[in-house]
């Protein structure tokens, strides 16, 4: 069952097991080998329904998993599936996080910030950075939507409403943490408004920075132009971009394309995506 490692067309994979991560969030585990670099994404196909991009949140030599928050019709159907059911997976696609010399072999001071279900995209990264003993910050709107909170011990939780962990945003404490740890690099995935705050912070303090962007995707392979962010195709050139690249992307933190291709504010985009 593990003869594949990456695929152009969807491969129907049996769900091996399902983990309840939190109320409304489930992880789906597959016994397949996947040649995956943290930050890349896969396209998940429910035949007859739709196809959407997801990050890989669990990765081993012969298994992997994704973590999905129930939000709309697609994720609802996914949440109704059980072990033994099959879903289509193609990928992995895009470029993941990079590991500059400054963080290699456990040297270098690292901070990872996950926001909302963007946390799913940073877990495999965190595990790869284990020897760096990174600062891990995780934020969510409320206690209910926090997941992976027990996966790492050195983890600081934030909720907007204070229902768990510290009340507020992970970005609130960055200044203090950086004074203490003198970060060489900060990695982040989460709402773009959060990521752009971290971006500004890194720019100001001359810290290396990598962020994983989210755009509505169609082809996933760099031909259709749907996922464009200022001349960059998020599916192919990204989804991870560094400080340098993001500095040239005026749309970052501001605009995204609806399914029709209409370029709108991130707020309007988020409203459309959430339904």
């Amino acid at each position: 069952m593990s003869e594949f490692a990456s695929f152009d067309q969807p491969v129907m994979m049996k769900i091996d097991k399902i983990i309840d991560e939190s109320n409304g969030t489930k992880s789906f585990m597959f016994k397949y080998k996947l040649d995956y670099n943290p930050g890349q994404f896969i396209m998940v196909w429910l035949p007859g329904v739709d196809e959407k991009p997801f990050a890989v949140s669990y990765l081993g030599d012969d298994f992997f998993g994704i973590t999905v928050l129930e939000r709309g019709k697609f994720t609802k159907l996914l949440h109704q599936m059980g072990p033994g059911d099959r879903i289509g997976i193609r990928g992995p696609f895009g470029h993941g996080y990079s590991f500059p010399d400054s963080v290699k072999n456990g040297k270098g001071s690292v901070c990872v910030i996950g926001g909302g279900c963007g946390m799913a995209s940073v877990t495999v990264l965190i595990e790869k950075l284990q020897n760096n003993n990174p600062t891990i910050l995780m934020g969510a709107a409320t206690s209910r939507s926090l997941f992976f909170k027990n996966r790492y011990k050195n983890l600081t939780l934030f909720t907007d409403d204070g229902s768990e962990g510290i009340k507020g945003y992970p970005t609130d404490v960055l200044e203090d943490l950086h004074n203490k740890h003198e970060y060489d690099i900060i990695y982040t995935c989460g709402p773009e408004i959060m990521m752009s705050k971290v971006f500004e912070f890194c720019k100001k303090h001359d810290i290396q920075f990598e962020a994983s962007l989210e755009r509505y995707m169609k082809c996933g392979i760099g031909v259709c132009g749907q996922c464009v962010c200022d001349g960059q195709m998020v599916c192919k050139d990204g989804p991870v971009f560094d400080l340098q690249a993001l500095s040239n992307m005026n749309d970052f933190g501001k605009y995204s394309l609806l399914k029709s291709g209409k370029r709108v504010s991130l707020q309007e985009y988020a409203d459309w995506r959430s339904c």
Partner: protein, 306 residues
């Protein structure tokens, strides 16, 4: 030996090389047009635009297979007004940009043309040939000489820009259709749109992979048919041809030019060779041309008919 020139003149539009980005590839925003220009393309076509915004078909909409690609994007586009806004100030893009315009009735095309009239497009392309979107192209009966003639004539009245008519490889008598377009006032023929449609079924899922079930075939599977279409059209009309379908190397480009094309579209090969494919193709053409003593594109157009 002097470097051969790739300069191309496509009905008055000056291009530094004959490669064209076909409609539906990356043409969603001005920023991407700049990126494609940086990658060495000679001219670029925007994603086809209708008067009203369209969301297109559900995902999956694009799927590669061993012979190329299948797609049923379904003409998603933000509508004419948004498109006029996105592509304002086109002078920022250092290459000629072609507006691809779709509609059901001749009037629909004209309304879009009018909305875009203030933009600095270099030409208008009319794809009367999509095989997989209800209400448009073949599924709206636009692949006949009569319908083609009517739509071209209406747009001819509404704009002074060069008009390219994009034809389907599914049409048996493609020369007649090209002739009808020429007679109605078209300035060039784009040949071809995608083939089929085709279907790919995932046997574990027991379902077609594309949500629309069927999609147009592009890429290498299409190439010999596209070459034959260009060959046939070259014998039927005097206006230039933009040969499109499965071109991914300099040799393919030259083959299409020898069949009769003045410029060549490169779409699906972006997937196979990356966005730099335009520069790569141009380099390969230059190398072949100097090895084989050709100095210009012009010397090669249609020579396979000799």
């Amino acid at each position: 030996m002097t470097t051969p020139s790739l300069d191309t003149n496509l009905c008055g539009i000056k291009m530094s090389n004959p490669t064209v980005l076909p409609s539906g590839f990356l043409g969603t925003s001005k920023s991407l047009l700049k990126r494609v220009a940086d990658s060495g393309v000679g001219a670029a076509t925007i994603k086809s635009v209708s008067f009203e915004a369209r969301e297109g078909h559900k995902n999956p909409t694009v799927i590669p297979f061993e012979g190329g690609m299948l797609n049923a994007v379904g003409y998603s586009n933000p509508g004419a007004e948004e498109t006029a806004r996105e592509f304002s100030n086109l002078k920022e893009v250092p290459i000629p940009v072609i507006a691809s315009i779709i509609g059901t009735e001749p009037d629909d095309f004209v309304r879009v043309v009018e909305k875009l009239s203030a933009n600095e497009f270099s030409a208008i392309e009319l794809p009367l040939s999509c095989p997989h979107t209800p209400g448009f192209g073949l599924l709206a009966g636009q692949g006949t000489p009569e319908s083609t003639g009517k739509i071209v004539a209406a747009v001819r009245n509404a704009s002074k820009l060069p008009i390219f008519v994009k034809l389907s490889p599914n049409i048996p008598e493609i020369g007649n259709l090209a002739k009808a377009a020429e007679n109605a006032g078209a300035d060039a023929i784009t040949a071809v749109n995608t083939l089929g449609p085709g279907m790919i079924i995932n046997i574990e899922a027991r379902k077609p992979v594309l949500s629309y079930k069927v999609g147009g075939v592009s890429g290498q599977a299409l190439r010999p048919v596209a070459t034959r279409c260009v060959y046939d059209i070259y014998e039927a009309v005097k206006i230039p041809i933009i040969g499109t379908g499965g071109i991914s190397t300099g040799r393919h480009a030259i083959e299409m030019i020898m069949a009769g094309a003045t410029a060549i579209g490169v779409g699906t090969a972006i997937y196979e060779r990356g966005i730099d494919v335009f520069r790569k193709i141009c380099q390969e053409m230059e190398t072949w041309m100097s090895e084989n003593s050709y100095n210009s594109i012009h010397e090669m157009i249609g020579v396979a008919h000799e």
